[in-house]
């Protein structure tokens, strides 16, 4: 069931998440200095510095003399920097697949073809301009104690049934992304809606249980680990896995009806000063022989070309023009309104 409420009449379309006119806001910036510098690689990324620093250092170890300036920003600020301000970066790395796709579609990315990129499966690259280097499934994080005495759900229908049958136990203890604020949350929700109508039933059930809405994965996972939440729906498995060793009560599960898989992607902005250097860094990220290294250093699951054969429920979000649909302002408004109507009940 798709709900259309209303949209405004005539709006000049610009970019989904860009509203302000000021320069983009960086969160962190770090210069990975080297001796005998020969070149500088400027990376604009949505990935946390502490996760990617070891990977940058590994890259520098293999390519001596290359200084790396690593700037982090939110996905919407990254989009603003490249789309509106033509900020000069050699690499744009983001988990916001829809925005990355739009950058490529609208001509803001340069082409790169190499032996390394040809090792990527078709679903992990688009137009030789957008390359995925991690595959991060959306999972259910839950507290074991909260599910005591209950069967562990294996798919969404079972979870919905459990929530419906135990309103007292789960009231106020269900968390998910606030899709108005979280790009990842919006991406997961829209993909869920494509895969199955259960999203809307889920939203309704969660709404009735006074679901808590979060902007970011980390707080949501922490609240599950601390027992404030019984479960968190659609959190990034890679982030949850990082909390597992310290929180024995925390567990994650992948649904077997379908598991949405987000791809972290890189592209070469057209403002790059050194396209060969950018290409070299992309080759480093997507190379088949570096996948093990990426997993070890970042804890993020690297691209596995054979994963679709093994994991029947895996649904990597498809790169391509389909992602532009959810960036449409009218579409976004319609979708969010429908979601809010179900989730936030009077």
């Amino acid at each position: 069931m798709r709900v259309h409420i209303l949209t405004v009449g005539l709006i000049a379309w610009c970019c989904a998440l860009i509203t302000t006119a000021s320069a983009f806001v960086a969160e962190e910036e770090r210069l990975f200095e080297v001796e005998n510098r020969t070149a500088t690689l400027n990376i604009l990324s949505t990935g946390d510095l502490n996760i990617f620093a070891p990977l940058i250092e590994a890259y520098q170890a293999r390519n001596p003399g290359i200084e790396v300036r690593y700037v982090t920003a939110s996905s919407s600020e990254l989009m603003k920097a490249l789309f509106e301000e033509n900020a000069e970066f050699d690499i744009a790395m983001s988990s916001a697949m829809d925005l990355q796709t739009k950058l490529v579609n609208d001509g803001f990315a340069l082409r790169h073809v190499s032996a390394e990129t040809s090792t990527l499966p078709d679903w992990a690259k688009w137009r030789d301009r957008l390359f995925a280097f991690t595959q991060e499934p959306a999972v259910l994080a839950f507290s074991k104690s909260s599910f005591q005495g209950l069967p562990t759900p294996t798919n969404r229908d079972e979870l919905i049934a459990l929530l419906r049958e135990n309103p007292d136990r789960f009231n106020g203890k269900v968390g998910t992304y606030d899709i108005r604020e979280s790009g990842a949350g919006y991406l997961f929700a829209t993909q869920d809606s494509r895969q199955s109508e259960s999203l809307w039933r889920m939203a309704e059930v969660m709404g009735r249980l006074n679901a808590q809405l979060y902007c970011c994965s980390s707080q949501m996972i922490q609240d599950v680990a601390d027992g404030r939440l019984a479960l968190a729906y659609n959190v990034l498995g890679s982030y949850a896995a990082a909390h597992l060793p310290d929180n024995p009560d925390l567990d994650v599960l992948q649904f077997n009806d379908f598991t949405t898989v987000m791809l972290r992607t890189v592209l070469i902005p057209k403002t790059t000063q050194d396209v060969d250097l950018s290409g070299q860094f992309i080759d480093f990220l997507v190379s088949g022989s570096n996948r093990q290294l990426i997993e070890e250093l970042t804890g993020l699951p690297a691209i596995d070309p054979g994963v679709l054969q093994r994991e029947a429920a895996f649904r990597p979000i498809r790169l391509g023009p389909g992602l532009l649909v959810y960036l449409d302002q009218l579409k976004r408004r319609t979708f969010i309104r429908a979601w809010l109507n179900a989730m936030v009940q009077p």
């Binding site: 209303l6 579609n105 137009r127 030789d128 023009p321 532009l324 302002q329 009218l330």
Partner: protein, 461 residues
């Protein structure tokens, strides 16, 4: 034989024309295939674009004075399923953009509700194909023209076009090569009856005037008929000529014999030495004339017989001895001795005995005629290699200084024998007999003293 001027070649002409046709067809094939395939590729893209625009258009509705658009995921994702192209869309109500890329150009063709319009334009650095699907929409009691524009780059199409062009070129070249080979075979095949006819005519001997009896295609039948008619006429004409000569010689010889007989009778009755001398001259002239007439007969016979040689195995020595025997009385008159040498081991030849005897008699006749009294004529038979050679060597006046080739021509005579009566046919007869038998006649000077050596060579059987 007169030289035939060559002007062009039928085969080359046919082949070139067939190749030209094949080349034109190949080029036409190339352009047709390319145009059709390109059109098909463009139509495919247009169809997908219009399907996408239709899906979006159907998701537009008006409610409470507002236009609502819920772009279906499939509307844009279907564009990504064929090729990795850039995709743009725009929805306008009259001239205002509802959503999408607000600078996407609207095709300039008249926008008429219900009829999709296509255009190709450069947008954001790439060539794009734009489909515009207009429809009427009532918003707050006002009718607006709602236009859904969907555009897609044509990079894939360009690649496909290139592939198609290459494939079409390959097909064209392949077609040309195949047609070329077939043309070559067809030309050869068409020329074969003509070649066969030409060969069968060329294979015929110089005297063969019988009709050509090869089967020929319809187109060659008139030529063949004309050729056969011509040869028939030629053959009849030749036969008539030979008959005429034979007849004429016969008619000349009979009265000459009478003249000779009457002169001999008269000689016995006249007393005066000067009268006797006159009669002697008359007899000699009658003899020479008779001999010339005989040679004319011989010549005609040789010409006729050499068309159909009646070959048998012959021993040259026996043949020569027969001829020597028959000519000895004449030689004895001049006290000329004829010797014959040659071993018994000499191989035999194949030939017409009458013609070969005739040839030898002519050689010996000549030798006797031009030899002085009381001299020797040597006939030597020897085998050299695969031929049998007969040398007739006299001690006469020799060949003189003139053109020796001319001696074997019909009625040709040496310029040192004007005082002796002769027909000039003797050596011609010898030459023709030799030619009919695959042999040769050679004239040279007597290697030992004054005189002539006439040699004939015949191939061994």
């Amino acid at each position: 034989m007169t030289a035939v001027r060559t002007r062009g070649s039928l085969r080359r002409r046919l082949l070139l024309q067939l190749l030209l046709v094949a080349a034109i067809l190949s080029v036409a094939l190339y352009f047709t295939v390319r145009a059709l395939a390109q059109q098909a590729a463009e139509t495919t893209q247009d169809n997908i674009l219009i399907a996408s625009a239709t899906a979006i258009s159907e998701a537009v509705r008006a409610e409470r004075g507002q236009i609502l658009v819920d772009v279906p995921y499939s509307a844009l994702s279907m564009l990504g399923s064929i090729a990795e192209e850039r995709v743009f869309y725009r929805i306008t109500a009259d001239d205002l953009t509802v959503t999408g890329y607000d600078d996407l150009p609207v095709p300039s063709a008249t926008i008429d509700a219900g009829n999709p319009v296509f255009a190709t334009a450069i947008y954001r650095g790439d060539e794009v194909r734009i489909a515009a699907l207009p429809r009427r929409l009532t918003v707050a009691d006002e009718t607006v023209i709602l236009t859904v524009l969907v555009a897609q780059t044509r990079l894939g199409l360009a690649a496909v076009s290139l592939q198609i062009s290459i494939a079409a070129a390959a097909a064209g070249i392949g077609f040309f090569v195949l047609s070329g080979a077939l043309s070559w075979f067809a030309t050869n095949n068409a020329m074969r009856p003509l070649n066969r006819l030409a060969q069968s005519v060329a294979r015929r001997g110089p005297q063969d005037l019988s009709p050509v009896e090869t089967s020929a295609p319809t187109e060659l039948v008139p030529l063949l008929q004309s050729l056969n008619t011509f040869m028939g006429r030629l053959s009849a004409s030749l036969a008539r000529t030979e008959d005429f000569i034979a007849e004429a010689a016969h008619h000349v010889r009979t009265p000459l014999a009478t003249v000779r007989t009457q002169s001999e009778i008269a000689m016995r009755s006249v007393r005066k030495p000067e009268n006797k001398q006159i009669l002697r001259e008359v007899i000699r002239a009658a003899d020479e004339s008779s001999r010339s007439a005989g040679q004319l007969l011989d010549h005609a016979m040789v010409a006729l017989r050499s068309d159909n040689l009646e070959k048998e195995r012959l021993h040259v020595r026996e043949l020569a001895q027969d001829v020597i025997r028959s000519i000895s009385p004449t030689a004895d008159l001049k006290d000329i001795r004829i010797t014959c040498s040659g071993s018994d081991t000499i191989g035999s030849v194949e030939g017409d005995p009458i013609l070969l005897q005739n040839a030898l008699r002519n050689l010996l006749d000549n030798a006797v005629k031009y030899s002085p009294e009381d001299s020797i004529i040597k006939v030597e038979i020897l085998q050299s290699g695969s031929t049998v050679r007969v040398d007739v060597i006299d001690e006469g006046r020799g060949l003189g200084d003139g053109d020796r080739q001319h001696l074997t021509e019909r009625f040709g005579r040496g310029n040192n024998v004007r005082d002796i009566i002769g027909s000039g046919l003797g050596l011609t007869i010898v030459e023709e007999v030799m030619r009919a038998h695959g042999g040769t006649l050679k004239l040279s000077d007597n290697p030992e003293k004054r005189g002539t050596c006439a040699s004939i060579s015949l191939p061994l059987a």
